[in-house]
């Protein structure tokens, strides 16, 4: 069987490969990320994967046979974080608002800091700005929230601004005027003027209009999105081209598709490429959704444990939720992203004791890929959760990353005693387990809060645990939450790449609006008309884009939706709409859907339809189904694992005492096998801990089902 889909997830440290054939047989690979020559990291990772292939395959043959190549990763975010994007960029904005970018609404000085530091104002600081003040020019004009022109564009000022920026040698110009989403006329006029001036000056500089990149209310978010598009996304196109060229030379015919933060894939030529900037966590949630479709689950929580963070995303009623405000490297943006929230808690999180109050603090910073003090070469001197796991015997010091990284348990113990257990006057194992319990508690509470926050309970959900560190801590962070089922895929370490491979091609457009549905229904006719008009306009825009990418607009599915709230409230919810155009009598259904959603999330007593409803965004999404991976389907055999799956036993500490644990090699476990705790299942890319009182059964799709013994 030929490999059909290749999905790549280039993380900050490792590049993961997920390669799957038409029958669902997949292999995974890992290699170090090579930021300067990304394609070589990709090829190394692919080579690593092919090593584990049961059939011998040449890279060229594999690439040639591919139907799809999906990319998700850190090319763009790294460019932004390292400030290696396109510069200098010029900005033309509404006169009087030249400092908006510098102000960062004040919020950018603390937005990604942990809570204790948010309280500690003297530690606040702003991200280094991408556009300096001397590259910003204001032009007099004002459009109001309804789109009404209060002040016409002062063309002369626009012309002077363009000439000034040309003289400054800018490589691109961003235009962001107040309320341009409500009436883009002035931005369009500035573009026309700029083009004329450039022609006169004999230069050609690309120009980007905020209403095209992100026609959404909130000038800072719209402006940042536009600027990051120019700074981070535009220069990345070239990098994607390079990857494409190299792979093409090796025989690949499939186009490159990049995962967006809202769960579809687009081509590298997509106008709003910035929407792919943080797509890594999206992959995991799409993977969960895909599992949900196969197993028939509508409520799933995806949990990804990495070295630094714990990411959680939810699928409720078969849908993942999108958030409309977020940050990229501390810049506030307001384009839609799949809600994946994280806390700074991972296997590499540092453990510290407050010297004065003796209170244990875990994270939020971490040793990341440098593991902890147990990896001498890592140069870390503060103990981490990994060190606790080594002390407790959960991690095998000789089999970390398949033995490539040797860990030193003695060093971990000595430093743990010195830094934690001795000042607290407890045994080292007790301290290590206490710290592990604290991080598990943090994760558990966070998980619970996210689920409760949507008006549901853990009992309604299946949980999927993935990421390199997920299976190590799964039992710990799910304990007592009574999920319907806990799934640990054997390919947990490359689960995000797998998820990326399941995404359809598609785009989404949001348009801010302000449509009031009065309690007496008197506005229903007008609102119906406005909605249909909005969706119609968005569809036209989408059709142009599809054509530009060589896709027949007739072949895609269109999905309308909108965001609305009770009049007077400020936070909206996304309401799906079956089809458009709608009729006036559909408005009642829309209100009803919103009421139901609101009631689920908040208390019933908080519903407030008395003053009517406000529609804040018109949204249209489209998707084109693309080939998807199949899951392996192997008939289940007996529950006792094969002899060769057993490795040498070792002791693990759990629940305040040492236990003799069985150790298994993951690859040799077969569907149907049941692993009973205390056990540890080891693979080069991950370690799966089954504590005493727990068991895990491997099913026909090579997914473990973890549960407390005697339950169910």
């Amino acid at each position: 069987m030929r490999y059909e889909i290749l999905a790549i997830d280039t993380g900050g440290t490792m590049t993961d490969t997920f390669l799957v054939d038409g029958e669902g047989n997949f292999i995974i690979g890992k290699a170090q990320t090579t930021p300067d020559k990304e394609y070589s990291g990709i090829l190394n990772s692919l080579t690593d994967a092919l090593k584990s292939s049961r059939v011998e395959a040449e890279i060229g043959d594999v690439l040639e046979g591919l139907k799809a190549f999906v990319y998700t990763g850190t090319i763009m975010i790294n460019r932004i974080v390292e400030r290696k994007g396109l510069h200098p960029i010029g900005l033309i904005t509404t006169a009087g608002f030249e400092d908006t970018i510098r102000f960062g609404r004040g919020k950018q000085s603390w937005v990604e800091l942990p809570y204790s530091e948010r309280l500690h104002a003297v530690s606040h600081y702003y991200p280094t700005p991408i556009i300096g003040r001397s590259y910003v020019r204001g032009v007099r004009e004002r459009v109001l929230t309804s789109g009404f022109e209060m002040i016409p564009l002062y063309e002369k000022e626009a012309e002077e601004a363009v000439r000034y920026l040309i003289k400054k040698g800018v490589k691109a110009i961003a235009v962001c005027l107040l309320y341009s989403f409500a009436n883009p006329e002035h931005e369009v006029q500035v573009e026309e003027i700029a083009k004329r001036v450039m022609k006169e000056e004999g230069v050609e500089i690309p120009i980007f209009l905020s209403h095209r990149i992100n026609p959404v209310i909130g000038e800072l978010g719209r402006l940042n999105t536009t600027v990051l598009q120019i700074y981070g996304a535009e220069p990345s196109r070239e990098q994607f081209e390079l990857i494409k060229r190299h792979l093409k030379e090796l025989g690949m015919k499939a186009p490159i598709r990049i995962l967006t933060s809202y769960g579809t894939t687009v081509s590298p030529s997509h106008e709003k490429l910035i929407t792919t900037v943080t797509s890594g966590p999206t992959g995991g949630i799409l993977g969960c959704k895909y599992l949900g479709d196969i197993y028939g689950f509508n409520y799933i929580v995806g949990t990804d444990v990495g070295g630094t963070s714990f990411d959680v995303g939810l699928i409720s009623a078969g849908q993942y939720s999108l958030k409309t405000e977020s940050t990229i490297n501390r810049f506030l943006v307001n384009f839609p992203m799949i809600s994946v929230d994280s806390i700074g808690a991972g296997t590499g999180s540092y453990i510290r004791l407050d010297p004065v109050t003796k209170r244990v603090r875990i994270g939020p910073d971490s040793a990341s890929f440098r593991v902890g003090v147990s990896w001498v070469e890592g140069g870390v001197n503060t103990v981490t959760i990994n060190d606790a796991l080594v002390i407790l015997g959960h991690l095998n010091p000789d089999y970390f990353l398949g033995g490539e990284v040797k860990l030193n348990r003695k060093r971990a113990e000595e430093m743990f005693i010195d830094q934690v257990s001795s000042p607290l006057r407890v045994d080292v194992e007790e301290a290590a387990e206490g710290c592990l319990e604290l991080i598990n508690l943090d994760m558990r509470m966070y998980l619970n809060a996210m689920i409760v926050g949507t008006g549901h309970a853990p009992e309604n959900y299946h949980l999927v645990s993935y990421g390199g560190g997920g299976p190590l801590l799964t039992a710990g962070y799910t304990k007592g939450l009574n999920f319907q089922g806990i799934l640990v895929p054997t390919w947990a370490a490359a689960f995000s790449a797998f998820g990326a491979s399941t995404a359809d091609y598609g785009v989404r457009h949001d348009l801010s609006t302000e449509l009031l549905l009065t309690p007496d229904g008197s506005m229903d006719v007008i609102v119906t008309e406005m909605l249909n008009h909005g969706w119609g306009e968005l569809k036209k825009l989408m059709e142009e884009e599809l054509k530009a990418e060589g896709i027949d607009p007739e072949s895609v599915f269109y999905k309308p939706s909108l965001r609305m709230m009770y009049f007077g409230m400020l936070d909206d919810l996304e309401v799906p709409v079956v089809r458009f155009p709608i009729r006036e009598d559909h408005i009642e259904d829309i209100k009803q859907t919103y009421d139901d959603m609101f009631e689920k999330i908040y208390a019933r007593g908080s519903k407030s339809p008395e003053a009517g409803y406000m529609i804040s965004r018109i949204i249209l999404s489209c998707s084109l189904p693309t080939p998807k991976p199949k899951l392996p389907d192997i008939p289940e055999s007996e529950d006792t694992p094969d002899e060769k799956a057993y490795k040498k036993e070792r002791e693990i500490f759990y629940g305040g005492k040492w236990h003799e644990a069985e150790i298994f090699e993951m690859d040799y476990l077969m569907p149907g096998n049941v692993v009973r705790g205390p056990s540890v299942v080891e693979a080069p890319s991950t370690t799966f801990v089954v504590p005493p009182g727990w068991k895990a059964k491997l099913d026909n799709h090579r997914i473990f089902w973890l549960e407390e013994d005697g339950r169910g």
Binding site: S109, R118, A121, V122, G138, S146, V360
Partner: protein, 732 residues
């Protein structure tokens, strides 16, 4: 819990709790090692994390229900869990000043026998917004619910939001025109407002008729109740899981631990001794007030004294404070404790357990019959922030001296800006703008004030445009969001305000300015408040205070004509010496040296200006590096004349950049030093000169009045004043 406690009423429990503290100095008499914590430190830490997590979650979910941008974006929402006696166990994120304020509501109800009448039972809802009991001002509305387990009251949960309007004599949330309780607006003095988890109908009717923004009031109440019930459900589960015995013991240990943490932190960071600082606040109402009683110009004395004992005990006193005022600035004792609390959390215990333990670790004295403890519920308490905020800059300066002395230079903060100029008011739309209905009311309640400049530290400049003393998570909001609500009040500019940052070797964070025009309206009324005549901070170690505010507007402008002709119109005031606004629009200019005003009527086309404060500086400005000065010039933080005059730095334009001329600057700095030497006089001479101003009465009336009041109200302060100036009697 011992059986004896179980049988006690709330009042007896409260008495016992206070008695044990008095006798032992420890919360609930918990001296020695904390048993539960010693037994299993990790279970103990987890229990705290669970409670804290539940409160944070409740807040994050409930915030979406609120309608007011003040609650959603600016964080004016918080939830707290209390012991049955009313001591805070843990709190959510959000505005911290209220952690302790709600505590006093509970204690008030207990002391006044609410247990018997009207009774406290499961499902009850209580509301309070009376600043003479617990709240900061009437605009802060508290909802409290008792939590029962097996028929016994085990805790209280409290939630607070800040309303955009509370039905005062003029529209607004921090009004200027109130002189007594009877103009402050809607009052609820710890009342039972619901039963069986449902608000009373009569309460809903009364409360919604009591404010100008009933919709907001309703949604904010729903938001508080939703959060409180989440907390209630959580706590009952927690007790089920951990056991009631553990719970009782734990809540007391955790408060005692909070107390000990603060003591430890004080010992680590500060040096024992007596620290003093002073601030002032001006009320320029001789030409503003409508009511004869308020028609005076007034200066308030806001002194702070902190004593640190070798055991780490912190004592805060405000001896010498001015008398209560016929303005809305009077502040109850509880909000003062709240202010203290806010400062402690940010400066000392941001990383530790934060609860009423911190309150027990601190002693305070807000002298009775002064503005900070007026003891008369009939005074106006509508905007105590006006004095509370400046007074606590003194605390920051005191503690910062301690930090510096102890070597914690990074922790030094030389003060902060007044979160002033919250423009308020509103008007009607004219229908001229397409899509905007005629006669639609537009309220003005901007909270851009949450982004002032922070004071400089001893190693770096203060944070620019991003801090509020009452909530360090500043957010100025998007202009597009504010204008969607404040429809008729259109933005012309939001810009950095040059020379607003306090001067210093490390400068304060910069402030900013906003210019707006009334457009598409039938006019409206506007007012605002900020310090104008007096600085309320002084900077530290040679640093200067930040620029004060001023009131500036232009009426009957030719704005529309200019726009039609595409002539430049103003975007701000800029440097008032060369006002951009005055040069780019014709009209009747009003420029006042003060910023706190009563409401005035404005018409279509009128232009209104307000400023958000910068922060004070640290160290001598002539020690500021040339590199930083050059950066200031290029970023527009300071104008070249200020750099020259204050910093002794000459900048010259090269292309479109300012560059420091080092040679000229060296020379200038030398001259400044020499000039300082020439101007300096012996202390004795200075003392004599100043003394003569007192003996000869060469002081303006507001200053004389201020001294008279402080001397009359505090014997100690008066004696010290007389001793210092060697006076037998003070005749002012």
């Amino acid at each position: 819990m011992p059986e004896i406690l179980e049988k006690m009423g709330l009042k007896e429990k409260l008495d016992l709790c206070e008695k044990l503290y008095r006798e032992t100095g420890a919360y609930y008499g918990l001296t020695g090692e904390l048993e539960l914590k010693k037994e299993d430190p990790f279970r103990w830490m987890q229990a705290y994390a669970k409670i804290r997590g539940a409160l944070v979650t409740a807040r994050e979910i409930a915030v979406h229900i609120s309608s007011s941008p003040i609650v959603r974006s600016i964080g004016e929402l918080a939830f707290v869990l209390y012991t049955p006696e009313g001591d805070a166990i843990a709190h959510s994120t959000g505005i911290l000043v209220h952690v302790h304020t709600m505590s006093d509501d509970i204690k008030f109800m207990i002391r006044n026998g609410y247990e018997e009448n009207p009774g406290i039972k499961d499902g009850d809802i209580f509301t309070c917004n009376d600043p003479s009991i617990g709240n900061v001002h009437t605009t802060d509305v508290h909802t409290l619910v008792p939590i029962f387990y097996n028929g016994e009251l085990v805790a209280w949960a409290g939630g607070v939001t800040h309303e955009v309007d509370i039905g005062g004599v003029v529209p607004g949330h921090d009004i200027t025109a109130s002189t007594s309780r009877f103009e402050d607006g809607f009052y609820v003095t710890a009342e039972k407002t619901g039963e069986n988890d449902i608000p009373f109908t009569h309460w809903r009717i009364r409360s919604q008729r009591g404010t100008r923004a009933p919709l907001y009031f309703d949604l904010d109440e729903k938001c508080r109740i939703a959060g409180l019930y989440m907390i209630k459900r959580f706590l009952l589960r927690f007790i089920e899981e951990e056991g009631i015995e553990f719970y009782w013991k734990f809540i007391r240990e955790v408060i005692e631990q909070g107390r000990r943490d603060l003591l430890l932190r004080v010992k680590e960071r500060l040096i024992p001794g007596r620290y003093r600082a002073v601030s002032f606040s001006d009320t320029p109402f001789s030409q503003e007030a409508w009511q004869p009683i308020a028609r005076i110009d007034h200066l308030a004395h806001l002194p702070v004294e902190i004593q640190i004992t070798p055991e780490g005990k912190l004592k805060l006193g405000m001896d010498g404070a001015s008398a209560p005022v016929p303005f809305p600035w009077n502040c109850g004792e509880t909000p003062m404790q709240g202010g203290l609390w806010v400062q402690l959390t940010q400066l000392l215990v941001h990383n530790a357990i934060v609860n009423d333990g911190s309150y027990y670790a601190v002693e305070y004295e807000f002298p009775p019959n002064t503005w900070c403890n007026p003891q008369n519920p009939q005074f106006s308490y509508q905007c105590p922030w006006y004095y509370l905020i400046p007074s606590f800059t003194g605390m920051q300066r005191c503690l910062s001296r301690g930090f510096l002395a102890r070597g914690f230079w990074e922790e030094v903060v030389s003060g902060y800006g007044m979160t002033g100029d919250p423009v308020q008011g509103g008007g009607l739309l004219s229908g001229k703008v397409f899509g905007e209905p005629e006669d639609f009311y537009w309220p003005v309640a901007t909270f851009e004030i949450s982004c002032t400049g922070l004071g400089a530290s001893a190693v770096k400049d203060g944070l620019d445009h991003g801090y509020a003393m009452w909530n360090p998570e500043g957010d100025m909001g998007d202009a597009e969001d504010w204008e969607q609500i404040e429809r008729g009040f259109r933005f012309l500019g939001r810009r950095l305000l040059p020379n607003s940052a306090g001067f210093g070797k490390y400068r304060g964070g910069t402030g900013w300015e906003i210019l707006r025009v009334l457009y598409g309206t039938k006019g409206g009324q506007l007012f605002s408040l900020r310090e104008g005549y007096s600085f309320f901070g002084s900077g530290l170690y040679g640093g200067y205070p930040q620029a004060t505010g001023y009131r500036f507007f232009i009426k009957n402008t030719d704005f529309e004509v200019r726009v039609a002709e595409k002539k430049p119109y103003p975007l701000g005031d800029g440097d008032p010496k060369e006002s951009e606004a005055e040069s780019l629009v014709e009209g009747e200019v009003t420029r006042l040296p003060y910023a706190t005003t009563y409401p005035r009527v404005f018409s279509e086309g009128d232009i209104f200006h307000y400023t958000i404060s910068g922060g004070p500086g640290f160290g001598d400005p002539i020690e500021r590096s040339y590199e930083l000065c050059e950066k200031d010039a290029n970023e527009g933080i300071y104008t070249p004349d200020v750099l020259e005059k204050v910093y002794g730095v000459v900048v010259e334009k090269q292309g479109d950049r300012w560059v420091v001329n080092k040679e000229k600057s060296e020379k200038l700095r030398k001259e400044i030093r020499e000039k300082r030497k020439r101007r300096s006089i012996d202390f004795e001479e200075f003392w004599k000169r100043e003394r003569s101003r007192i003996t000869e009465g060469r002081l303006i009336e507001p200053v004389k009045r201020m001294f008279r009041e402080s001397i009359a109200l505090s014997k100690t302060w008066g004696e010290e004043f007389k001793q210092f100036w060697l006076l037998d009697e003070v005749m002012l």
